[in-house]
Structure formats: structure tokens, C-alpha cells
Symmetry: C2
Subunit: 374 residues, 2 copies
């Protein structure tokens, strides 16, 4: 077998994104033990930086040793008990995945459906809360990666908290690209992914749970339906106090990478990072408009870091993306599920959010679209 050498690609899809070079460097440091004191200290620093990124003081702030989907599952499997009613707002693929989670753990999902491409309707959410006062949990996606839509997390959390419900928020695509204010908004459980705006490699999921969420987990009358994701057990390893005890072998090198990614985020400063994402979005928007391309999402609901545009008539989705990949070493994303063939998703996340990348993407699109749409 030949050694695999990955050909360089500029990643401007919905994630994984361009990883910062020093993160890649950190990945390749010699592995150390998962109970080595120098590793434990590094984990403490990761936790400290996550407190900053999530804007929270939650003790239960840690990293799930698996991708964002497992972070989602960790939140749901710990918080949902048999028969628990969960209100889920769905305006894209990932709300549907929440439903799968709730039902597989014995919960009852009450779906609030919005059109894909629009933000979650506050009126519909309020109506669902009013109609289901017995719901224990209210769950929604902050930044829908499948459609490029931002929803009003603060308002949604307020409604749910006023009704005495716990809130679960998907921040996979928002964390590191937009303000995420866990404590101020009243989010009880949040999960994200390493491979989006934090510009680390895929495979890790930062999460944070409020004291109220921890209380619900501690008051469970049945065991969490997963050993790997049981926070009662995992916390003994990531926990703030006392002796660290072995739970599973942490993905040491991947965490080296996340430490570095969080360090770059912290040192650049959250506001500066958000401003960079926004400036790139504006530059991309101007260029796309010049090319005659239109956004799928209304201006008010758009995510700067995940630009979803309509595929022009007469253009073959896969053919064009293959050309971008092969001839321009550029990856943009296609649509998921019902959106396949209809939209493209251009990511400006972390390492891909640079003027140079925006210009590269615009030039490539121009070159490949001109002959087709002319």
C-alpha cells in the first residue's frame, strides 16, 4: 500500500473548514498519556478557553471525544428520560436529527416546523410552549448549517425558561463565528463542533451544561442509555474538582489541536474574529451579486459563515462542484436532503474566512459559471 498524500484543497464548504496551520502542527506533537499531569493541565486550559468562547461559567464544560453529532447525542441522552416531552423547532436537517435523538432515548418529540431557509418563528414556538406546558425540554438549532439560517436564540430561550423548561441549543456552526452567550441567554445544554468556525480538525464536540441541566441528570431515576456518553462518568475525567479518574482514552492529539484553535480564537479576540467573518461575508455577497447569484435566505436571517445560494438554472450541481474541486482545488458544499441540487453552501469559517479565500472562490465560480450561464 502506498502512503496516502492528501492533495491540498481550500475548504469553503459548511465544514470541515480550512484548519489554521499551527493547529495542524499541534496535532503532530508526540502523543502523551491521557492521565499525564501535563495533559490534565492542558485540558484545564481548554476548559478555561471554552468558558470564554461559550460565555459561560458552567462547571460542566468539556469536550466530547467524538464529532458534533455525538455532542448532540450526549446532551439528549443525558437530559431525556423515558416519557419526557421535548419541543423541537425544526427549520433544517439538524432539527430532524434532534427528533431522532429524543425518540431513540424514549422521549416524546413535539415538532415545530418552519420552512427551510427561514429562521424559527417565535410565534409558533410560543404557541407550542403554551400548548405543551408539560414539556420538560425545548430544543433548537442556533445556526442551521443545512440552510444557512440564524435564529434568535435569546428570545427562544427566554420563552422556554419562562415556561420552566430546560433549553438545548445546537451551536455547531455558530460557536466561534457569531456571539454565543450561554449564561446570558439561559441555554442549559449546548454542543458544538471543532471543525467549523473554531478552525480545528473534525472529530471533537465542545459542550456545556448549566447547573439546572446537571441537577436534572443527577435526579434521573434511570441510568443514562449510553455508557460512553454518560456525563456522570465522563465528568470524573474532565471534572473541575478532585482526582481525575479514567473513563475512556481521550483523543490526545486531536485535543492538542483544539487547544491551539481555541488559543488562536482567544488571542485574536472574539469580537475581532466575528468582525472578520462578517467582513468576508460582505465581500463574498458583493462578488456573488456581481455574478448574478442570489441568496437562498433573506438578508435578515443569513449566517455570515455559511452562505447558502441558489444554483442557477441550467447548471449541474455535481458537475460544477467537481470542476471547482479538480481544477481550482476548492471545495464548496452542496445541499442536504431535500436541498440537494438546489443550493450551494459557501463556508467562511475560521481559517477560510480570509479576503484571499473569498476572492479565490469568486474567481473560480466566475470562471466555471460564465460558459454555462452565458
Amino acid at each position: 500500500m502506498e502512503k496516502f498524500i492528501a492533495k491540498k484543497v481550500t475548504l469553503m464548504g459548511p465544514g470541515p473548514t480550512q484548519v489554521y496551520p499551527s493547529v495542524l502542527e499541534s496535532l503532530s506533537m508526540g502523543t502523551i498519556g491521557h492521565l499525564d499531569p501535563q495533559f490534565i493541565q492542558m485540558m484545564d486550559e481548554v476548559k478555561e478557553m471554552l468558558h470564554g468562547a461559550f460565555q459561560t461559567k458552567n462547571t460542566l464544560t468539556m469536550v466530547v471525544s467524538a464529532p458534533g453529532s455525538a455532542g448532540m447525542e450526549t446532551c439528549f441522552v443525558n437530559l431525556v428520560e423515558d416519557g419526557d416531552k421535548v419541543i423541537i423547532c425544526q427549520n433544517g436537517v439538524f432539527g430532524g436529527r434532534m427528533k431522532e435523538n429524543v425518540e431513540r432515548y424514549g422521549g416524546v418529540a413535539v415538532m415545530v416546523e418552519d420552512d427551510w431557509g427561514t429562521s424559527i418563528s417565535l410565534d409558533k414556538a410560543q404557541a407550542a410552549i403554551d400548548a405543551n406546558p408539560d414539556a420538560k425540554i425545548f430544543a433548537f438549532v442556533h445556526a442551521e448549517t443545512s440552510t444557512g439560517v440564524l435564529s434568535d436564540a435569546e428570545a427562544l430561550c427566554k420563552m422556554a425558561k419562562d415556561a420552566g423548561m430546560l433549553t438545548i441549543m445546537d451551536a455547531v456552526t455558530s460557536l466561534g463565528g457569531l456571539p454565543v452567550k450561554i449564561d446570558e441567554w439561559g441555554v442549559d445544554a449546548v454542543y458544538s463542533g471543532s471543525q467549523k468556525c473554531l478552525a480545528c480538525v473534525p472529530g471533537l464536540s465542545p459542550i456545556s451544561l448549566s447547573p439546572a441541566a446537571v441537577a436534572k441528570i443527577e435526579a434521573r431515576t434511570s441510568k443514562v442509555k449510553s455508557w460512553f456518553m454518560d456525563l456522570n462518568l465522563v465528568m470524573a475525567y474532565w471534572g473541575g474538582t478532585g482526582k481525575r479518574s479514567y473513563h475512556h482514552t481521550a483523543p490526545v492529539n486531536a485535543l492538542f489541536g483544539l487547544h491551539e484553535a481555541l488559543r488562536l480564537f482567544t488571542n485574536e479576540g472574539a469580537d475581532a474574529v466575528f468582525a472578520r467573518h462578517l467582513a468576508c461575508h460582505e465581500r463574498l455577497k458583493a462578488g456573488l451579486t456581481e455574478l448574478g447569484l442570489t441568496f437562498f435566505v433573506a438578508e435578515s436571517d443569513r449566517l455570515p459563515q455559511c452562505n447558502v445560494i441558489n444554483i442557477p438554472e441550467g447548471v449541474d450541481d455535481l458537475e460544477l462542484r467537481t470542476k471547482l474541486l479538480n481544477d481550482h482545488q476548492l471545495e464548496i458544499g452542496g445541499g442536504l436532503g431535500p436541498m440537494a441540487g438546489k443550493i450551494w453552501r459557501i463556508g467562511l469559517m475560521g481559517g477560510s474566512a480570509t479576503e484571499e479565500n473569498v476572492d479565490k472562490c469568486l474567481a473560480a465560480l466566475k470562471a466555471e459559471l460564465a460558459p454555462v450561464t452565458a
Copy 2:
């Protein structure tokens, strides 16, 4: 925040082990998309090499995007349905974890207990099989990492298969260090870890399931109690035939590393790798004996790659291991659970199985033990 620089440590614990330098190099290649054709081709090669390492033709051979514990959970959560009786042989920590898995998914665990430090009793296993003809699954650990014990996988599988049961085998520490013959032995589900004898970084779990196991999963009357680990869904991404569809974002760079680790294993040749592990074990054994140290496990049951020795009287476990770590940059493992403070575990796995490392370990032990035991 300062950049984290890991101090170099020679890893001779029970894993993570010394990672081959070219694996670390592969980790730091620029990330590519998880649906990029070059990545899909690399996944196919990983699968092909796993077929060799597991000695299987199973179509459902893939890598779980999380550590070995999640590989274990993937096997159990897919194969166990409510009420399914599962016979579990326990002769260490990891048999106990299997019980946690079975019960959390609604199964009924029938435990066959053996003393820690001995291999699984074939007589007891047969008696349990005879007493529980309604058991659907028979599960055991091939190489118990917590005690350094090898069990007779071939004989255990034969008994269970003769009784019409499916078999689940933990090969976390055996794969890549000892022959693992999935098809010949009749193992229906096996999971391993990347960070042991394959000498890759921690965080991935290679698994393989037989057609009979797949048939049981396909015949389930209830959904798998995990979305992230549902093999019906994951297989659409890792699947052998047809179009790859998105399930979750694979840990791209970690898989670069695993590809390289499997390539080194394949190119060195399984038999040569096993012989290297064995030769290092013999060299270590001779040296330990010279130092007056004794093995916890009878010679016939010992794992060459995980040498478990009794801590000499009068020696403080943690103090000595801290000295090894700080003054010799050497990590060996302590005991888990009831074995804590009683044993050390010296790993000779993949990259740590070299004469140089054996000699380094012996010299360090000699230097630190002499003043204490003199």
C-alpha cells in the same frame, strides 16, 4: 494563553502507545472534505487493510469516529434489543463495562466471573451457555488490558456458535499485537482501538461485523438506541456499494493517521509485527526477572504487549511512576479499579515494542527501584 508544547514522553503504558513518527506526520496533512473523492478512496484503503488486520471478509468493516469504548458501544447498541439475554465473561475491568452496555440498552446480562489475572475458564463459559440456551449473544474480552491476560477466543467462539449464539469480542489490545482471526474463529462483532498495537493516536475504533450480525441488526423491531452509532445509518457513509451519503463529519485527520498506521502494519507484515512484540516481551521478561520483579499473570496466559507485574512491597506506586515520568520521561501504567496500587502495566505495543524502549524501561526501573528495595 501560551501555546501548549507537549514534553516528549516514551509511552510504555497500556495505551496510548508510542505512535510511529510517520503517523504523526500524516495527521498534520491539510484537512480535506469528508465527501471528497480522494478521502473516499482513502477510506476504501483503510477498509481493505482492516480486512487484513482482522482477517475477515466482512463487508461491514469500518472505523467508529470515536475511541474504543464507543466501538464497544456501537457493537452492543446495535446488536442488543430489549430483553435480549447476553452472556458476558468477565475477568477484568472491560467485561464489567460490557455489562453496563448491555443493561443500558435494555438487555439482560448473565455474568460469568473469573478471577482477575486468569484467562476465561472454558468450563465455566460452557456451563453458562448450557444453563442459558435462550441467550442471544456471548461476549468476552480477547486480551484484558486491565490485567494483561489472553483468553482462548477460538474455543470460546466455537462453544457459543455451537449453541447458536452471536459472539462479540473485545480486541482493543489484541489487534495488531497478536493474531486476530475474525472469520476463522467465528466472531460476529469485534471492536478495537487505534492507540494500542496499531500505534496510531487515540480516538478511533476499528470494528467488523459478520453477515449474521448484520442480519440481526436488519431484523430489529425497534430503532437502535443511538443515532450516532446506528450502523444502518453509518454504513451509508462507509458502505461498500453505491453512493456515499453524509451521516456525520468523519475525523478526517485522525483517519489519515490510521491509514498510515495500518499501512506500516501491512507492509511490515502481521507475522513480523507479532514476532517483534514477542521478542520485546521476552527481553523485558528477562530483565524484569533479573530485577527481582514478578509477573501478576501465569506464563501461559500472558499478553506479550501488556506486561502486568506486581508492585514490590514497600514501593509507592504513584511516587515511582511520577519519578519515571519526570526523571526518565517514561510512562508505564498503574492498575485500574481493584488493581490500583497493586500492579504496573508495561505496554509493548506497536511503536513502543522496540529493543531500545525495553532497555530504557529496564534501566529506569533499575535506577528507581534499587534505592527502595535494596
